[in-house]
């Protein structure tokens, strides 16, 4: 931020832009990189991590996005098929931070895997 005499002209707030990536390997791994998640440092409200719809949808196919979350509460008809009446319908909706790593091999083995929503 030099206080030069150069005047900068005002510009419109940048709109969402679209970045097409063909391979997951092209995805950046840090906060400050494009394509994909883009930091705007000068938008109203300050720095934001923005993603457009297409980018978010593309992330869905990542292997990281496909493991069932651990501690997913079993809510028949919502997080599991409505017909699922066996075992722990009483699973507590308790959250643990481990949801980003390996799902625990717990009591309801296989219960998550059988329920995939296809869009």
């Amino acid at each position: 931020m030099s206080i030069s005499s150069q005047k900068t002209s005002s510009r419109a707030i940048p709109a969402t832009r679209r970045v097409t990536i063909s391979d997951a390997a092209h995805l950046p791994h840090d906060y400050s990189s494009t394509p994909g998640g883009t930091l705007f440092s000068t938008t109203p409200g300050g720095t934001r991590i923005i993603y457009d719809r297409k980018f978010l949808l593309d992330c869905r196919s990542s292997p990281l996005a496909n493991t069932p979350p651990s501690c997913l509460p079993d809510i028949p008809g919502v997080t599991s098929p409505p017909t699922n009446t066996v075992t722990n319908n009483k699973t507590q909706p308790q959250e643990s931070a481990s949801s980003q790593s390996v799902p625990p091999v717990d009591k309801a083995t296989g219960e998550d895997a059988q329920f995939e929503m296809d869009i």
């Binding site: 993603y51 809510i75 643990s96």
Partner: protein, 236 residues
């Protein structure tokens, strides 16, 4: 103070330490007195995993369903609203979303709520109490697509209104479905106008779609009127 989500109590009480954006302190104090503490489980912060794409905020999915026959009962809500889970990255979001039914396939009187972590999907939460929501009523068959577009826009920070967004709700009802997005400051017209315009853009709504803004104060009043709950004692 009469709200259908009062019954939530404070079962996300462990979440406050990692949220650096919402008015957590006030919220926590405010809820301490009603915290019967049937849930003292402390949860660790949800963080993006290695190689994942962090979101601007952490969010929590909630699900609620009205029990037939006892619509106004606090207890039935307490039994029927559940936290599904919290996430901090795009990938973590998909893990939950992919294992949840789509709203259009829900039965009965049900809602999905997706709120910033630390903000309860209730009118009286400190983040919501001065706020309001844009409401869009949808004919049957549109809810799943609109809900997905809405939450993707929210997670991706498409609304460009700073800290104003609180969360989004999809409500499955008998003859129609309703999606709404909640913000903090109902009186901030620049913000509410921007949210409305973004909604039009991201939802691809037909031009004649009616969008209604409703303050939570009005919602509370309507709810009280409807249930005849003018309570003098402050009781529920």
């Amino acid at each position: 103070m009469n709200n259908k989500f009062d019954a939530l109590k404070d079962d996300d009480s462990g979440d406050h330490d990692q949220d650096n954006s919402s008015p957590k302190d006030g919220e926590k104090e405010r809820n301490d007195d009603e915290e019967k503490d049937q849930n003292t489980t402390k949860r660790k912060a949800v963080v993006p995993g290695a190689g994942e794409h962090p979101l601007q905020y952490n969010y929590t999915f909630w699900y609620s369903r009205r029990t037939p026959g006892r619509p106004a009962s606090t207890q039935s809500y307490e039994q029927n609203i559940k936290q599904i889970g919290s996430f901090a990255s795009v990938e973590q979001f998909w893990r939950f979303y992919s294992h949840m039914i789509r709203p259009g396939d829900l039965t009965g009187h049900s809602d999905f709520h997706l709120f910033k972590e630390g903000i309860k999907p209730m009118w009286e939460d400190d983040a919501n109490k001065s706020g309001g929501k844009w409401i869009i009523r949808l004919r049957k068959g549109l809810a799943s697509r609109c809900w997905e577009n809405l939450i993707l826009a929210m997670l991706g920070e498409q609304f460009m209104v700073g800290e104003e967004i609180c969360g989004a709700v999809v409500s499955v009802r008998f003859q129609e479905d309703i999606i709404s997005i909640w913000n903090k400051t109902a009186s901030d017209q620049a913000t509410t106008a921007r949210i409305r315009d973004t909604l039009r853009r991201v939802l691809n709504l037909p031009p004649n779609t009616i969008m209604e803004y409703k303050t939570h104060t009005d919602s509370i009043k309507a709810w009280e009127d409807f249930h005849g709950l003018v309570n003098a004692s402050g009781g529920r």
